[in-house]
Symmetry: C2
């Protein structure tokens, strides 16, 4: 890397900060750009963190024995038998993914669309990323046939793809690749000898696991799949920075784990010790934590579905949302109207109009690797649950969160904005 590396600010974090500045300046904004979960820290976590405030030492680079054991149990209860020595912990799922890119080496294949930081991390260290489209309604997992084509062509051109990232369940689409797709994908990855990096940060936010299960590629290609997750999405403690990686059992996994720990030792040393103590408690999944996560999952489901209805009613096209707190509506049917009435021809133009004229913050599909002209937007509902701890608690407890004033107000505001945006448009209404 002799050239200056490509440095871009994380689109989600940048949007977050821009919205916070607008709000501080007294403007009314509806923040649906970042997927940060706007829910309070569970009291059990607060107590464990406070009780661990005396821990000032680094401890092992791979994480404390307690945390590694708890994370192993967490995966084992989800059908992925795991021993603590397969677990490496770090200060967030994002650094784990970055560390894995360095530990595996070579170029990387990513899904299209996919989370803003995969491509950006590759750019930082000067490696190529090869985006491979996903199947319709099955975001997060590259189409197995296109994966073969892309990797074969890349190698023929002298490039060196060695890993492929998947997101399961998916950000930005809120969908889940079908188990059969994951199986075929895993087979292709094995044929191509790729390490699979499965970002499963949303694994606890599948609305109905019986109907739409998220089956990890670690089930189908256990010898080559690294799974990462954290507590940012299920327990809303992104600001605590906890990530864990599950390495494959066996010799390959062990070598990769050693390299990952080496990378960790040179970049971040260890996750914050008091946070590790609280994270060990959470990954052990006591009843109160399981119930809290279930309540937050129900809340995401209700609000994301209600929001999806608004976008569909306005004429945008979107896949059924089955997990996460995201929807990914496509305004393609409204392209002519948006161009004629608003002069909008790109996703960034549409997102810009929504934030400038209406104070509604969203991200354009280009932030997820899609072409500039795509009129898809990623909508995150995770900040709409309340602006005080009391309101958030009420939303978590409510049988019908949509009946709460502040939740309804956000939905009504979106409906009103979309009505204004699309007024006079002749589009097939999807509802």
């Amino acid at each position: 890397m002799s050239e200056a590396s490509r440095v871009t600010m994380s689109a989600t974090l940048a949007a977050d900060e821009a919205i916070a500045r607008r709000r501080a300046a007294g403007e009314s904004v509806l923040s649906m750009a970042s997927g940060e979960i706007g829910l309070p820290v569970h009291p059990g976590l607060r107590e464990r963190l406070a009780a661990a405030a005396g821990l000032g030492s680094y401890g092992p680079v791979a994480g404390s024995p307690e945390l590694r054991e708890a994370a192993a149990g967490y995966w084992s209860r989800r059908g992925l038998a795991t021993t603590p020595d397969q677990v490496v912990c770090g200060p967030g799922s994002k650094p784990m993914l970055f560390g894995l890119l360095l530990a595996v080496g070579g170029d990387v294949v990513i899904p299209l669309p996919s989370w803003v930081s995969y491509a950006a991390q590759a750019g930082l260290i000067g490696v190529r990323h090869f985006p491979v489209p996903t199947l319709p309604g099955q975001g997060g997992v590259p189409d197995p046939d296109l994966l073969r084509e892309t990797v074969t062509a890349a190698r023929a051109a002298g490039h060196d793809p060695r890993s492929v990232i998947v997101t399961l369940p998916d950000n930005p689409t809120g969908t889940i690749a079908a188990p059969e797709t994951v199986r075929r994908f895993a087979e292709a990855a094995r044929e191509l000898d790729l390490v699979v990096i499965s970002d499963e940060i949303y694994c606890d936010l599948v609305y109905d696991p019986a109907a739409t299960p998220a089956v990890s590629p670690a089930v189908f290609a256990p010898e080559r799949t690294v799974v990462t997750t954290g507590l940012t999405k299920n327990l809303a403690i992104g600001g605590w920075r906890t990530g864990v990686a599950r390495l494959p059992a066996g010799a390959t996994g062990q070598r990769l784990g050693e390299r990952l720990v080496g990378v960790a030792s040179q970049i971040w040393s260890s996750p914050a010790a008091p946070v590790q103590a609280a994270a060990a408690y959470a990954f052990a999944e006591p009843d109160e934590i399981v119930e809290h996560i279930a309540a937050s999952r129900r809340l995401h489901e209700r609000v994301a579905h209600a929001m999806a209805e608004r976008f569909a009613a306005a004429g945008a096209v979107l896949e059924p949302v089955v997990a996460t707190c995201y929807l990914y509506p496509d305004f393609e049917p409204l392209r002519a109207h948006l161009a004629e009435v608003h002069g909008v021809r790109t996703g960034a133009g549409l997102a810009g109009l929504l934030v400038e004229r209406y104070g509604v913050g969203l991200l354009p599909a280009s932030a997820f690797g899609e072409p500039e002209e795509s009129l898809r937007l990623r909508v995150a509902t995770s900040r709409l649950y309340g602006d005080t701890e009391e309101r958030c608690q009420a939303a978590l407890r409510a049988d019908d969160p949509l009946a709460l004033d502040w939740v309804r107000a956000s939905l009504d505001r979106v409906e009103e904005v979309l009505a204004d945006l699309t007024a006079g448009a002749a589009v097939p209404i999807a509802v």
Copy 2:
């Protein structure tokens, strides 16, 4: 970076873990390999962390406004006027240094000897590092004349050095480059148009700032110097992971700061929020924190000096230790004896003998970039203050910590080990 990056485990953290395993196995070990500070977390920090346990959000990538303001005040009180917008915070001083390598781009010059992770971080991202020797007794700052020679030759050979790292005060030598040396160094860096990255993590551990001040290169080359520090060494909370960087004022600094924040947003998002709250309290330096740091500094000084006397008495050569908790004795005068009696011909061999035969953990100079045959060892006294919180508190309070049983026992053990190691050697005794 199409090849697998060079991954090496941090020598200090690896030594730490090896010693912890030996101790867990019931072996008696004297741990002087890692520079982790074995002192308890100050109660004020514990309280602030516990009080901030409700903070689950990321907050700004560059750190909370409170922490940035506190860090700006910290530097301003040390003669480097700083505004909060010059400050970027991260999860440790180590990630800040890594982020700066990526943000500056290009190859890097490092002092020889220098801390284990500078070269390793460069290796991870596939950039070259050019080691430049320091002046005798003035570790941490490359000899200005050799810096010119090295950079000129590197550029002539088609390489691209763009930054130079200094350590002030120095690890591993426990010395401080003279202000005049720093001035000449800063002049050379300006001529060569290098960004100076000044690692000042030990800045609060100068024993006598009137006699041996540590003057930052930011004084002499303010337009190009980035200063990094943290709370790992002065407050013994390495395990909390707090680092801060001070960017230059002005346009160059602003551009570099924006790139650093971009890198941070893609690798670690933000430092842990509850830790930031406690760190803001510490960088504001209330009286109880200032006094605690002063007590720990006195303790380091007494024990490091007493330890240095033991090594000198055994025939090793070493520079006067004026800061940190490190000494860097050279067993060169004992080379013949070590080879004949013990079959030891390298620093690693000497360190290996000391840990295997005597249970004394130290690091060889090769971990700091020196040749394998160098017989220098880095000795850290920071773990000798007590193995319980009570003993550590007693050590911090003691007028004469050397009179405490457990401190004396460690010093006596080292004396005994060195006597055995050098028994029969004919060397000029330095004391």
